[in-house]
């Protein structure tokens, strides 16, 4: 290394009950570089950066800034040391304005009062300097996710950040928005800022990073320069074995249509129309994937189909039963299975045992119960069998769901839904937050269920997941289906459609 590093993390160790999240991790950052921190979910990337930002306290190790050992025990200390962080879940207050969010805790004052005019002025000033256009008086909840991310970056810059940590910044962006972000990163680099870029996406790393450090199971595996790095090589480093980047599957043999949605209209919590006249059809034995950026009505579409949200207009027909306006029970009795997008919020009752969770949809039917009387032993017996079949590890039928790892929790959800033998399976974000092993399991299972003749509707924000699993791809944008594509489509083409760039007649 020619230059002395701006920042050095040496031998950082962080233990949580039962896991070592960071095991003597070393990392360094040179001024003006983009250094990617690559690893799968649960590899310890976020933990490491939360330590650097003062949110966690390391059990061992030291942080050196410009060759001096520093103690960063709070975000305040991190900010003082010139470190800024853009969190994966934005740290923005939805009901406040852009300017209020940016100046929070360093507010300009006039006497004892908050000086809104100066705040707006300064925000404009800094946004022009770095070429990040925002409207200071817009409310966060009314601006797009990409715009919110800019506000987060400005928040760090406003506080004089020299080192910027970006935690999975592209997870919520379209490919085009991601390209814009990369331009922003390059211009920040040109201003002399140093950037730590956390991701698990190989393509991005090769595009933007100067150096790449790979973490696996809490340990530093290797730091490599971009030159000479390949996707396959990085994937091997990241996972520790050869990875199949494509899902093996036979061509689909679609049968009769099982799920039909006609001109569906649904509104969201705020009363805005989120689904604006969607029609689609899923046939037996095919996977229809829905691509799109988060917040374009996918959640509401899924909830409407599964009876969890009021339908304003249109029709949903599942296996020849009209389930428009039915409750969740009506939907599941018509044969719709549902892997929900958030297993903690919806998919599982974390304080229930696995047996009780597996009974979540059958508890009121025989053999689980009769005339309102529950038979806990039968619940346990059925669950024990299923847990074995689906290779759920970390607990038995009487274990609380909360004590399982994310991957095993998801297996429980999949086991419950699949074992009910649904004719239609709606899978929303089925691999969110899982590691490669669990992702492969879920993917194989979905393809197997397709081959059993079920109709599968897959919603995912991960483009490669949609492309590799689906037999047909629909793109959703602002509550409408704006295009249908075969799985041979390129990511770029989908990306343009995801921004509403092109409309095609829906088949």
């Amino acid at each position: 290394m020619t230059e002395p590093p701006l920042l050095e993390l040496k031998g950082i160790t962080k233990r949580f009950p039962g896991v070592v999240a960071n095991d003597h991790v070393d990392f360094d950052l040179v001024k003006g570089e983009v250094h990617a921190l690559l690893g799968e979910n649960g590899a310890g990337k976020s933990t490491l950066m939360n330590i650097l930002y003062g949110l966690y306290h390391p059990d061992e190790g030291e942080i050196r800034l410009r060759d001096d050992a520093v103690r960063i025990d709070s975000p305040h200390a991190a900010i003082d040391a010139g470190i800024g962080m853009v969190h994966q879940h934005f740290m923005l207050i939805p009901v406040m304005t852009v300017a209020e969010n940016i100046v929070l805790a360093v507010e300009p004052r006039r006497g004892p009062f908050l000086d809104h005019a100066t705040a707006n002025e300064r925000v404009l000033e800094i946004s022009q300097r770095f070429g990040l256009a925002v409207r200071p008086d817009a409310r966060i909840e009314s601006i797009s996710v990409g715009m919110q991310q800019r506000v987060e970056i400005l928040k760090a810059l406003y506080r004089g950040a020299e080192i910027l940590i970006l935690d999975e910044p592209t997870a919520v962006l379209t490919p085009q928005e991601a390209l814009e972000l990369f331009q922003i990163i390059r211009s920040l680099q040109a201003e002399g800022k140093s950037i730590i870029f956390i991701t698990h996406k190989l393509g991005e790393v090769l595009e933007i990073a100067d150096r790449i450090t790979v973490l696996r199971r809490g340990k530093t595996i290797e730091t490599v320069p971009r030159e000479g790095a390949t996707e396959e090589g990085l994937a091997r480093l990241m996972v520790g074995r050869e990875v199949l980047l494509r899902v093996e599957k036979k061509p689909a043999e679609p049968g009769e249509p099982l799920l039909t949605v006609e001109d569906l209209r649904v509104h969201d919590e705020r009363g805005l129309e989120a689904v604006r006249g969607i029609s689609l059809e899923v046939r037996a034995g095919e996977i229809v994937g829905i691509a799109g950026v988060d917040g374009n009505g996918q959640t509401e579409l899924v909830e409407a189909i599964t009876g969890l949200r009021h339908i304003d207009a249109g029709r949903v027909v599942a296996a020849e039963t009209d389930i428009t306006g039915e409750s969740a029970r009506g939907s599941l009795e018509a044969g719709v299975g549902h892997i929900p997008e958030d297993r903690h919020r919806r998919g599982l009752v974390l304080d229930f045992t696995l047996a009780e969770n597996i009974a979540l949809k059958d508890y009121c039917e025989e053999p689980d119960s009769k005339w309102g009387w529950l038979f806990p032993k039968r619940l346990v017996a059925r669950a024990t069998k299923l847990l074995k079949e689906f290779d759920v590890r970390g607990g038995g039928a009487q274990t609380l769901a909360s004590s399982l790892s994310g991957g095993n929790q998801q297996k429980v959800v999949v086991a419950r839904e699949v074992s009910r033998d649904p004719r239609i399976l709606v899978a929303a974000q089925p691999t969110r937050g899982l590691d490669v092993g669990a992702i492969e399991f879920v993917h194989r299972r979905l393809v197997a269920e397709r081959d059993e003749g079920r109709a599968i509707l897959l919603v995912s924000f991960e483009l490669d997941e949609v492309i590799s699993l689906s037999d047909r791809i629909l793109v959703m944008y602002e509550g409408r289906v704006v295009g249908e594509y075969p799985p041979s489509v390129s990511e770029e083409e989908l990306g343009i459609a995801m921004l509403g760039g092109r409309r095609e007649a829906v088949a």
């Binding site: 900010i79 908050l114 715009m147």
Partner: protein, 409 residues
């Protein structure tokens, strides 16, 4: 670069909104209330046609809005208008003198008096909940303020010290609530309930232990009224504001100050940030714990002031459990006012009015003697609170993080 969202509405937008069903329905509700008001003193129109016409118009507006999607508001407008017509019909049959014995300027002055302890507590509730801590312990803090205030005033003979004692007592209980909720992450509702129970037991115990069965001694001085010679002689206004109790003025000032602090100062921005998204506040270096402690203790101080007015501003004695649910009514006012000082103050006036009205209607010839009973009329403020709570839900938006302990990582 994509374009920036257009979010701010222009004046033209606002004007356009006046024609929307929602605004029309609200106008219908206002007309209904106005129709009833016209039949009452001081206006007392002795002719059923005018109020009835206003009421019918209000109902028509409500119906129009109802058919255009504003179901809930439309129904409220029709109900309010119906009330106006029926009320007018009934009031016409009563003599004007009897009406004036109930609906007088005194009623408005009494409304302010009854609203005062509520408004103090409600401002406290706003501070606490805006910072993210639900405080159902307001009830107990009012009670503690009432008892310790009058005790200190009686012991020292100075009402000023009594007020400080009341504030201190409220703050002490609030500190316990803050410690339990913030440091120990106790369930905020359970902790608040424990505070109420603790205040009930502690004040009851000390009341009996210090004063025995004789009750609190006669105070040398209560909290004085503020006489304003310029205003005193003006009819109506003078009758209300001419010699109002100091605590009522202090309450009005507190409401205004609460609004300024919460919405016009940096500290208010930080308090609200802690209540909406504490982690976001933490990541920019705000101490969520400190802000929440300060806000909760402030709520105790304010509730204590409400208690002080209750025991030695308004009456002159302390009774066991004299807060009588006022802390909870104040919380309902906070919800009704959408966690905003002036909104909550308006709700407090409404609840204060219902109490004042209930007292004036006791034994009044306006009601059948069965219903004019003091006991039955006592339920009025509680029923009104319940109705208000039911009517407002869905349009009122609590601070997003209220009720959740913040866990620093």
């Amino acid at each position: 670069m994509s374009t920036v969202d257009e979010t701010r509405e222009t004046t033209a937008d606002r004007l356009r909104r006046l024609g929307e069903p929602r605004s029309v329905a609200i106008a219908g509700i206002c007309l209904g209330v106005l129709g009833l008001f016209l039949s009452l003193p001081p206006i007392t129109i002795r002719n059923v046609v005018v109020p009835a016409a206003v009421g019918v118009l209000g109902a028509a507006l409500g119906l129009w809005a109802l058919t255009r999607g504003q179901r809930k508001l439309g129904i409220w407008a029709i109900l309010a208008s119906l009330l106006a017509v029926l009320g007018a019909l009934w009031l016409q049959s009563e003599s004007a003198g009897e009406l004036e014995s109930v609906f007088s300027v005194g009623l408005l002055a009494a409304t302010l008096r009854f609203a005062t302890p509520l408004a103090f507590a409600a401002m406290g509730g706003i501070f606490s909940e805006r910072s993210g801590v639900v405080n159902i312990g307001l009830e107990g803090m009012i009670l503690a303020g009432a008892f310790f205030g009058i005790m200190v005033a009686a012991e020292t003979g100075q009402w000023e010290l009594g007020i400080i004692g009341a504030m201190g007592a409220g703050a002490a209980l609030a500190s316990i609530h803050a410690f339990l909720c913030i440091h120990l992450q106790a369930d905020q509702i359970i902790s608040g309930f424990a505070i109420n129970f603790l205040a009930l037991g502690l004040t009851g115990y000390l009341f009996r232990s210090v004063y025995g069965t004789g009750g609190t001694p006669e105070l040398p001085e209560r909290i004085p009224d503020v006489r304003l010679p310029f205003i005193e002689d003006i009819t109506f206004i003078g009758d209300i504001f001419g010699s109002m109790n100091l605590m009522i003025w202090l309450m009005l000032f507190t409401v205004f100050l609460s609004w300024v602090v919460l919405f016009k100062t940096p500290i208010g921005l930080r308090i609200r940030a802690c209540g909406e998204h504490p982690r976001a506040a933490d990541t920019v270096g705000i101490s969520v714990f400190k802000i929440r402690y300060a806000a909760v203790i402030t709520s105790g101080v304010l509730a204590g002031l409400g208690g002080a007015y209750l025991s030695f501003g308004f009456g002159g004695t302390f009774n066991e459990n004299m807060s009588a649910g006022r802390g909870f009514i104040a919380l309902a006012a906070v919800i009704f006012g959408n966690w905003r000082p002036f909104g909550a103050f308006g709700a407090c006036l409404l609840f204060g009015f219902s109490t004042a009205l209930a007292i004036r209607l006791q034994g009044s010839p306006l009601l059948p003697s069965d219903l004019a009973s003091a006991n039955l009329l006592q339920t009025l403020p509680y029923i009104l609170t319940l109705v208000a709570l039911v009517g407002v839900i869905g349009r009122s938006r609590p601070p997003a993080a209220a009720g959740r302990p913040y866990v620093k990582q």
